[in-house]
């Protein structure tokens, strides 16, 4: 084992350790949420995950972005097979380890496919950058897309472009070295794309070529390790969390909202003629649960998982009737705020710092919440079935049932329902008048 193998091993282990530590922190943050039972219908859940996350079934509703995304997604999945080889080579000092164990035809096929995918990913990322920064598609520039979210997106695209370039240059120089007979490389490999990059390195001496090949090799693997860790502080976390989010997604009809069990208990007690209205709660009874959500920890863990899974594509906001008519509400912002708040709250807790903020008020305002028509355009538009609407509803529940802070007209509507069983002020006795009019 040479010095470079030791350096590789150290870098690799440090990167993996950091990754696991930070991933565990995010999982712990998600577990700060309230409990919700999503252990039912596991067959349907697997199917949903395969169709929506793996199969990308909702992405192509917007064909341009959808097809480009599928290219990057497939490229990411498949090219990462190459990482296995890089890691083995890195630790053991072999070169193109897989070529020594796989039939050469298969190895050539693999490397050839990686190269074709790499160039497609590269082109797709360039188009994505143009869409964001030159064409300036509206949903990438709305008000919650402040400087960091925009930079975050661009960084990821540039990262991917650099990684793909390094991969192709590595193959180009490797191929040159092999055909010059100057390398210790055991076998040739097909390079359907990188051969067209070789002209840049023609005429260079062997030492320079080896240097470039080694540099891009290191760049590629360190880049991947950095990228992996960067993802955890980025909106790009969807590459992992899209899978659990679609597995644990709401499988009920979109119109079906949850019935709060704590309220059911209260209402049943109220309607029970045998209940003792003056009964004191049992001594060991849990304190009554707060209705609705004020802070991120009042949301359930699926909602928090959703918040970390959002990649800020903005399809929700782009289809939201409130957002599209200039209201303050943006469903994407609801998810971003939830993510930022649960992260802040958990960090403060970890550091023992005082925390006086809350999701409601400091991040999301009542005006945003009251602009929602509950039309489900956002939940339907989301390519990974995230549910910002349920967060809006839980926060409305807090406003109304804990703070009595509904808009005046809604309070009037409530008292009409309470007094005469209709949202308008008509006597219940007139309910059948339409029959004779």
């Amino acid at each position: 084992m040479g010095i470079s193998n030791i350096i590789f091993l150290v870098v690799f282990l440090v990167a993996i350790t950091f990754f696991i530590r930070n991933l565990n922190r995010i999982i712990a943050n998600i577990k700060l949420g309230r409990d919700i039972d999503r252990s039912d219908r596991s067959t349907d859940r697997w199917k949903n995950m395969f169709r929506v996350a793996m199969g990308q079934s909702k992405m192509t509703r917007r064909p341009v972005a959808g097809i480009l995304h599928i290219i990057v997604y497939l490229g990411f999945l498949i090219i990462n097979i190459e990482v296995i080889e890089i890691v083995v080579d890195g630790i053991f000092g072999s070169h193109r380890f897989l070529s020594s164990i796989l039939p050469i035809g298969l190895y050539n096929f693999l490397i050839g496919s990686f190269e074709i995918l790499a160039i497609l990913v590269l082109v797709a990322c360039v188009i994505f950058l143009i869409r964001r920064n030159v064409v300036r598609i509206k949903r990438f520039w709305s008000k919650e897309m402040t400087s960091w979210p925009r930079t975050d997106a661009n960084l990821i695209l540039i990262f991917e472009i650099l990684l793909m370039s390094a991969f192709l240059i590595m193959n180009a120089t490797d191929g040159l070295l092999f055909s010059a007979g100057a390398s210790h490389y055991v076998s040739s490999f097909s390079n359907p794309i990188s051969q067209y990059f070789q002209f840049m390195f023609m005429g260079m001496d062997t030492a320079t070529l080896v240097a470039i090949e080694r540099f891009t090799w290191w760049f590629h693997i360190i880049g991947i390790l950095m990228f992996m860790n960067y993802v955890l502080i980025s909106k790009h976390l969807h590459i992992f969390f899209a899978f659990p989010s679609t597995y644990f997604a709401n499988l009920n009809p979109l119109g079906q909202f949850s019935n709060l069990q704590s309220v059911t208990n209260e209402v049943k007690l109220m309607m029970d003629p045998n209940a003792d209205p003056y009964a004191a709660p049992a001594a060991d009874a849990a304190p009554p649960e707060q209705f609705g959500a004020k802070d991120a920890t009042d949301l359930n863990w699926v909602q928090l998982l959703n918040a970390y899974s959002c990649t800020e594509c903005g399809r929700c906001t782009d289809s939201c009737p409130a957002s599209q008519t200039g209201k303050l509400l943006s469903p994407r912002k609801i998810l971003m705020d939830t993510r930022d708040r649960i992260t802040e709250l958990a960090d403060n807790k970890r550091k023992g710092k005082e925390d006086t903020k809350s999701l409601l008020g400091d991040y999301i305002t009542a005006e945003e919440l009251w602009a929602c028509t509950s039309c489900n355009a956002c939940t339907d538009a989301c390519p990974i079935e995230l549910d910002p609407l349920s967060i809006i509803m839980d926060m409305r529940r807090y406003l109304v049932m804990e703070q009595s802070a509904a808009p005046t007209e809604l309070n009037m509507m409530f008292s009409n329902i309470e007094n005469n069983g209709a949202p308008w002020q008509f006597p219940a006795a007139d309910r059948l008048n339409w029959k004779n009019e």
Binding site: P253, Q256, N259, M401, D430, L432
Partner: protein, 258 residues
């Protein structure tokens, strides 16, 4: 005008009979002047097809949809449990309603509170009557151009997109689609209890945005299947270009062409 044959569930019970179907009229259908016309049109259809239905009349109360979606879960569940008690008392098995909000709540949200019913939107029910041959429409609206606005609580919320369109087409009309239709439909602005409050500040009211889209197709009629959508689109037409198109419920279109 009292040619409508309407009996309450209480009257059925007094006669020792049972209705096959409960027609859930809804608060809008009971009290709103425009929506009452939709209620009456649907009753005309059911009378024509000799449907054995009853209504709750004064025993009906708000479904609780508006309360629930404004966050007042307490009031919603009170309403739901009272309504369930009444309906279970009459041994209700099947419900049909002209309001997608009641439809959604009764169908999806009552079952967790002890109310298990087969619930249909009136368009689904009318389509069934047509298929069974209990009803025949005259396709005499040829040359009329109609666009259909999907109510969110019928469409996205419960995936009913095609049946309302088939009913419209059965009238022999030209059905033109807005760009934002079916699952991509744009809300009228009334859902989530917005019907009962002023909209939040913004650049434009949602119903205006939607009405402009509909009127750009130059339809004679904007059809829909929800009393709230009807109000919002009617107000929208008044504001954008009064008289440019009529806003009608599918029940009215069918009832006028029997």
């Amino acid at each position: 005008m009292s040619e409508l044959q309407v009996k309450t569930m209480a009257e059925f019970m007094a006669e020792g009979k049972e209705a096959d179907i409960l027609f859930w009229v809804g608060s809008a259908g009971s009290f709103d002047d425009r929506a009452k016309k939709i209620t009456r049109a649907f009753v005309r259809i059911m009378n024509k097809a000799n449907v054995n239905f009853g209504v709750l009349g004064t025993e009906e109360s708000s479904s609780g949809d508006a309360a629930k979606r404004s966050g007042n879960e307490f009031l919603f569940q009170m309403q739901a449990m009272m309504n369930i008690e009444v309906m279970n008392g009459y041994n209700v098995k099947r419900i049909v309603t002209t309001c997608p909000h009641s439809f959604n709540t009764l169908k999806n949200e009552y079952k967790g509170l002890g109310g298990n019913y087969k619930v249909q939107h009136h368009t689904e029910f009318i389509a069934e009557l047509l298929a069974q041959g209990k009803l025949k429409v005259i396709g005499n609206l040829k040359g009329t151009k109609i666009t259909y606005h999907d109510p969110c609580y019928l469409g996205r919320a419960n995936n009913v997109y095609d049946i309302p369109r088939e009913l419209i087409k059965s009238l022999g009309v030209e059905l033109v689609e807005m760009k934002r239709s079916k699952r991509k439909s744009f809300c009228c602005g009334a859902g989530g209890a917005q019907m009962f409050k002023e909209p939040e500040n913004g650049a434009q009211d949602i119903n205006i945005n939607r009405t402009e889209e509909a009127l750009a197709l130059k339809p004679d009629i904007i059809a829909t299947g929800c009393p709230f959508c009807n109000t919002m689109m009617t107000d929208g037409v008044k504001a954008v270009n009064e008289g440019a198109a009529e806003v009608k419920d599918i029940a009215e279109l069918i009832a006028d062409n029997l």
